[in-house]
Structure formats: structure tokens, C-alpha cells
């Protein structure tokens, strides 16, 4: 019974199926909004779905320089870990799995899609991918510090004098005391998190790793067909997961009493977060250089998050 229940959670809601559907939906929203901001009509909302299915129907070429197992397994591992992360994030008050330190589990699971991209790219044997994975890894190091600081700040705020590395506790605290975002000491952390989200997802201006115009899509250069489709799906899912994480960390206090309404509100908020931190920045900025990206995250963004952490530690 436990296994069946877990299977439902993992495969349908809020795991694989739910996350991929809404991930693709969010990716569509993102493309549409960017297009509208550039005064274009833009593709239909279903466009990422078409892309995904088209790629499934294409031939998957495995170059002779590639290591077949790593090359094909990488996107799947990324997919699985993304589906698992969603189980720890409260979707409008509904959490599939909760533990006393799921924040660290999330932190680690969130690095796995990146690692999968790196291993996949690296195993393809292309030098372009070599450059791409190096950038991806530096990006990962860059956003990890502010991300950790934000999580610690939120945990401290929600836990008070006791340890609370738990999303559930954060949700409960917000249900009692209102949204984390409206605590003034948490505003720098929220801004930092808003900047971490696009770097994690890898949207412009933080898509240095997959710069299609300079290094031919970096780690993805040799991918085609179904495997590429999985990677595109992973990116879309990351959008949903990361915006969902932001919503449950900072805007998780909205409760209507009905689970369905809560879930709808959650999704709406995810769309809003996506538009603010991904579509807008995408539409108005150009791609950064990798060393600038690193410096930006370790000075400005980490500084904001640290500021919040210190404020919270002082009891504000």
C-alpha cells in the first residue's frame, strides 16, 4: 500500500506527470511572454509540448566518441531527480513526503539535473561540450552559495530557536504568521532567491553553459531525438520546480481551506514568479560572461542573502 501510494505520488501527482505537464506549460508561458515583450505574437502556449513530442519522434544519434550508457542515462537521471524534488515541495499545503531536513535533500537533488547535464555532455566526447560543462559547473558553484544562505535564513526565520530544515515547518510558520516575503528582513533573501532561480534553470542572461551562438549549445551539442527531448523537458521541469520552491519558501502562507484552490493558487503564483524572474530578465538582458556571472553571484546575490541571514540571526 505504501509502495502504491508512493508510486502514485512519484508518477502522477505531484511527481513526474504533474511536474512535466506544468513545466511544459510554464515554458510555454515564458516563451509567449518574452515574445509579447518583444512585440511579437509568439508561439502558442503548447509549443514546448510540440517540441518535446517532435523530438521523441526523431532519430537519436549516438556519436562513436560517446559513451553510450552515460550518454543515454544522463537525461533520465535528471528527469527522475526533478520528479523527486517536487515530492518535497509543498504544493499549496500538500506535501507528498516530509521529513525533518528535506531542505538539504532538495538542495542536493537540485544539483543532480545539473550533474546529469554535465555527465551527459562530457560523455559525448565533443570539445564544445567540454567548454559547456565547465561553464555549467562554474554556474552551479556560483548560485549554490546564495542558495544555501537563503535556505538557512528561511530555516532560521521559520524555526526560531529550534532547528527547522523542513519545508513543512516553513509552510506552517507562514500559515500562522503570513508570507515570508512580507517580513522586511526576508526581502533581501527573496531578491537573492529570485536571481538564483533563473541561474538554476539556465535562462538568459545566465545561460552561459548552453550559449547556442558561441559554443553550439554546450553540453547538448551532440544530443538529438528522444534524449534531447528529455533534456528539454528537464529544463521545463526545472522552471516549475524552482518557481515552486520560491513560492513555497516565500509565498506559502496563502490558505483558502480547500486543497484544490490552494493548488490552483500555487500554480498561478508559479506563473507570476516565472514571468518576473525568468521572462522579464530574458527579454531585457544579454548573456553574461562566465567570470562576471560568478562574481555577480558571490558578491551581490550572496551579499543580499547574507544580509538577510544576519538580520534574521539578530532576531528581526
Amino acid at each position: 500500500m505504501l509502495i502504491l501510494k508512493s508510486l502514485f505520488y512519484i508518477l502522477i501527482f505531484p511527481g513526474a506527470l504533474f511536474t512535466s505537464c506544468f513545466g511544459l506549460f510554464l515554458a510555454g508561458v515564458d516563451r509567449k511572454v518574452v515574445a509579447r515583450m518583444q512585440h511579437r505574437i509568439g508561439p502558442p502556449l503548447r509549443q514546448p509540448m510540440y517540441d518535446f513530442f517532435k523530438l521523441l519522434g526523431k532519430e537519436t544519434i549516438i556519436p562513436h566518441a560517446a559513451n553510450k550508457l552515460a550518454f543515454l542515462a544522463a537525461p533520465v537521471i535528471g528527469f527522475v531527480s526533478l520528479a523527486l524534488i517536487m515530492l518535497f515541495i509543498p504544493v499549496g499545503g500538500f506535501t507528498a513526503f516530509s521529513g525533518n531536513a528535506d531542505m538539504i535533500v532538495i538542495l542536493y537533488l537540485i544539483t543532480i539535473p545539473g550533474v546529469a547535464l554535465i555527465v551527459g555532455g562530457s560523455s559525448s566526447g565533443s570539445p564544445y561540450a567540454g567548454i559547456g560543462i565547465s561553464r555549467e559547473m562554474v554556474t552551479m558553484m556560483a548560485y549554490e552559495l546564495p542558495f544555501v544562505l537563503v535556505l538557512l535564513a528561511v530555516a532560521r526565520k521559520a524555526g526560531g530557536s529550534e532547528l527547522a530544515f523542513s519545508m513543512e515547518k516553513v509552510a506552517m510558520w507562514q500559515a500562522e504568521n503570513g508570507n515570508m516575503l512580507f517580513q522586511w528582513s526576508m526581502i533581501p533573501a527573496a531578491i537573492a532567491m529570485l536571481l538564483v532561480v533563473p541561474a538554476e534553470v539556465g535562462t538568459q542572461p545566465f545561460d552561459v553553459a548552453e550559449a547556442e551562438t558561441e559554443i553550439c549549445e554546450g553540453p547538448l551539442i551532440e544530443y538529438s531525438g528522444g534524449a534531447l527531448g528529455m533534456f528539454k523537458l528537464n529544463t521545463a521541469m526545472k522552471m516549475f520546480v524552482m518557481s515552486g520552491l520560491f513560492v513555497s519558501l516565500f509565498l506559502g502562507g496563502i490558505r483558502t481551506g480547500s486543497v484544490l484552490c490552494d493548488i490552483i493558487i500555487f500554480i498561478v503564483l508559479c506563473v507570476v514568479v516565472t514571468i518576473i524572474c525568468m521572462s522579464t530578465t530574458h527579454a531585457v538582458t544579454a548573456r553574461l560572461k562566465i567570470e562576471h556571472l560568478f562574481k555577480f553571484y558571490w558578491t551581490f546575490v550572496a551579499g543580499m542573502a547574507l544580509c538577510s541571514l544576519i538580520l534574521v540571526w539578530c532576531g528581526l
Binding site: 515574445a35 509549443q47 519522434g57 544519434i61 534531447l228
Partner: protein, 148 residues
């Protein structure tokens, strides 16, 4: 049903890969114009891809100079099936004003099966759009032929 979904999608998200085989850049600029807000080919799902492995439609411009021929053929081979080749402008079609030059090996049909040719020096963006759209429909046919 799953197969039908894939077949339907085949024509709705054609990704372009652009190869310049010695073009004067006129056609290339017009192709980019197609993707700008004025013409907005992204409406139909067109997108420029960075590598031939991601491409569905390969757009070839230029008169196929002998220096670029080998590279052109090699790159075309790396595109996964089903794929479509579109020749852009008069050069790959006939050699245009470069015809007869010692270093030009047009037409493109000598080396690869061309699905759609958009003639003109340079073709109008509207014409390019129509050509690409036709190529997208051919993609669907090819996909259906692969999986009946």
C-alpha cells in the same frame, strides 16, 4: 494515439540550422529578418538551433564553394532523420552570377536532395517564410512515411 501526437508535432516545431556555403550574406540577413518581430516566424515554432543535431530543417545559402562543399556534406550528414533541406536564394539553386567560376560547385542538388528551393536574389522574407512552412509540412510527410 501517441504516434499521431508525434506526427502532428512534427510539422509544428521545425528547428532551423543555417549553413552558409559561401553566400554574400544577403540571404542570411533576410533569414534573420524572418525571425525578427516584424515577421516573427516563431509563431509557427521556427527556432534557430545551434547545432545540426538539433535541426529539422537545414537552410543552405550560397553557391557551394569548393572549400565549403566537404564541410557542407559532413554537416548535412549529422542531422538526424527526418530532415529537410531548404536552399535559400538563387545561388544554391543555379550558381547565380557565380556560375562557371572555378571555385563554385552549384547547384546544391548535385550533392544532396533538396526538398524546397526558395529562389531570388535575395528572396523576400515572405517567400522564405512560405518556403520554410512548406518544408515543415514535408517534415510531417517524411515522419509519417517513416512510421506508417
Amino acid at each position: 494515439m501517441f504516434n499521431k501526437l508525434i506526427n502532428d508535432s512534427a510539422s509544428k516545431s521545425p528547428w532551423l540550422y543555417h549553413i552558409n556555403s559561401g553566400s554574400c550574406n544577403g540571404c542570411d540577413i533576410e533569414l534573420v529578418a524572418v525571425l525578427t518581430p516584424r515577421y516573427d516566424a516563431e509563431r509557427f515554432g521556427f527556432k534557430l538551433a545551434g547545432t545540426p543535431r538539433h535541426a529539422d530543417i537545414v537552410v543552405v545559402s550560397g553557391p557551394v564553394t569548393s572549400q565549403s562543399r566537404e564541410r557542407l556534406i559532413r554537416t548535412l550528414a549529422q542531422v538526424p532523420e527526418p530532415k529537410c533541406v531548404v536552399s535559400l536564394g538563387s545561388c544554391p539553386k543555379s550558381g547565380n552570377v557565380f556560375k562557371g567560376s572555378y571555385s563554385v560547385e552549384a547547384p546544391l542538388d548535385n550533392f544532396v536532395h533538396v526538398d524546397v528551393s526558395v529562389a531570388g536574389c535575395t528572396p523576400k522574407p515572405e517567400a522564405i517564410m512560405e518556403g520554410l512552412y512548406k518544408a515543415a509540412l514535408i517534415l510531417k510527410e517524411k515522419r509519417e512515411a517513416m512510421h506508417k
